[in-house]
Amino acid sequence: MALLSRKERNLVLDPLTDDNPITVQVLGICSALAITAELKASVVMAVSVIAVLAVGNVVISLLRNVIPNKIRIIVQLVVIAALVILVDLILKAFAFELSKQLSVFIGLIITNCIIMGRFEAFALGNNPWHSFLDGIGNAGGYGLILIIVGFFRELLGFGTLFGYKVLGDPIEKTGLYALGYENNGFMVLSPMALIVIGIIIWVQRIKNKELIED
């Protein structure tokens, strides 16, 4: 990692673990709950947010000296919404199939508070290169939690991973199901995502005692 200085490396790596947006900063919870029933959706969302946050952070960072302080929230929201809508329109015209698959995520990305949160907390006060790294790191940490939750919810809820029946067929009673195993239908529902994240936080704080709240 000779490319990045120590500080720059920390910008990317910290949010993956000790400064994770979901489990520590409490940002971007809504989408982490809604779309983690399946691993595939979690991965798509993670990749989209990495792209949007990295680009958005750079744009806001470039504009940071011209944005009037009083209306900065409006400006930030307008910038991000305009970017996402532009990409959506272009995809609709030139890559229609892809846009069909991503259209569901557009609303979730614009309303994702991780994006606003990082604009406000980081991009407004730092240079574009650092903001870019911060975007990658934070969206990466967010995506990591999404993928962990998606993995457990799909495995325990549907008995599949990426749609492949890894535990056997529940209707034909093969594989694990032959032994009397049943899918836990509850895992499919959003409230269970909250509980899975709660357990992730528990595990994380057992490993890193500094994060424990009084």
Binding site: A34, I35, T36, A37, E38, K40, A41, V44, M45, N65, V66, I67, P68, N69, K70, I71, I74, V75, V78, A82, I85, L86, L89, I90, K92, A93, F94, F96, K100, S103, V104, F105, G107, G150, E154, G157, F158, G163, I171, G185, V188, L189
Partner: protein
């Protein structure tokens, strides 16, 4: 000492410039791409209609493959024999029927009780069978859901296609997956001469969907509201077409 960016005049000028730049950029892009986008959307509609008829490029057991956009217009003309518009008791042929916006028609009918809603329908032919393809539209959990249902001469479902604007990925969004759409095929719509539609049912006793006269298909676990939306959409929209389809079938015989 106040910074330039804190001044009121700067704020106002910045806001005005931002609105103008962003607004014209978006409007410009939307306007230039409008043609392509609406063309893509038209192809998509034709692909969906053909898919409901069972004309698709599906190969594996799980993929949903449409006729490619480059061929769809030609295939559409081959398989769809007639496009009709139903208004009141009138059934008229109209080659532009698939351009009718059923969302607009529904809201017009809601605003004005005297308005006679225009109902587009497509009459296709496959393997010597006449199929009646009807569009439907309803609400899921988050946003709109819609689809097409192909109905054969015995008022059985030949095939369906569903799509949605923003259902939960991994849950309600799966209404456009094969494992949800395929079981509709062959389901009876009528029971003793009255319309019952197809219910998306939880706790279905028939998970492999071997019984075709129970008016039920298996729901997707965790997406009750989307499933209920599909049921309601079929019950409301398809029901409007049934008397007209019956009439057309009688005329043919």
């Amino acid at each position: 000492m106040s910074k330039l960016t804190d001044k009121n005049s700067y704020t106002v000028i910045f806001a005005i410039i931002m609105v103008v730049v962003v607004g014209s950029l978006l409007a410009g892009v939307a306007q230039t791409l409008k043609g392509r986008i609406s063309e893509n959307e038209r192809f998509e509609k034709q692909q969906n209609i053909l898919y409901a008829m069972g004309i698709n490029n599906n190969q594996g057991a799980t993929d949903v493959a449409f006729i490619p956009a480059t061929e769809v217009a030609e295939k559409f003309d081959t398989y769809i024999k007639k496009q009709v518009v139903i208004q009141g008791d009138q059934i008229t042929e109209d080659p532009e029927a698939f351009l009718i916006d059923i969302k607009q028609e529904a809201s017009k009918a809601k605003d004005d009780p005297n308005y006679q809603r225009r109902l587009p329908m497509f009459i296709g032919e496959k393997d010597g069978k006449t199929l009646y393809i009807v569009p439907m539209r309803g609400n899921g959990l988050w946003d709109a859901i819609w689809g097409f249902m192909a109905i054969d001469e015995n008022l059985r479902v030949e095939g369906v296609f569903f799509d949605h604007a923003g259902e939960t990925p991994g849950l309600g969004a799966n209404i456009k997956e094969r494992f949800f759409m395929d079981p509709f095929t062959g389901e009876e719509l009528m029971s003793n001469g009255t319309f019952r539609g197809v219910t998306v049912a939880k706790g279905n006793n028939d998970p492999r969907n071997n019984r075709k006269d129970d008016h039920r298909v298996d729901a997707i676990a965790g997406s009750t509201i989307t499933g209920d939306g599909v049921t309601a959409m079929i019950r409301r929209d398809v029901a409007m077409y049934i008397p007209h389809i019956k009439k057309l079938i009688n005329e043919q015989q």
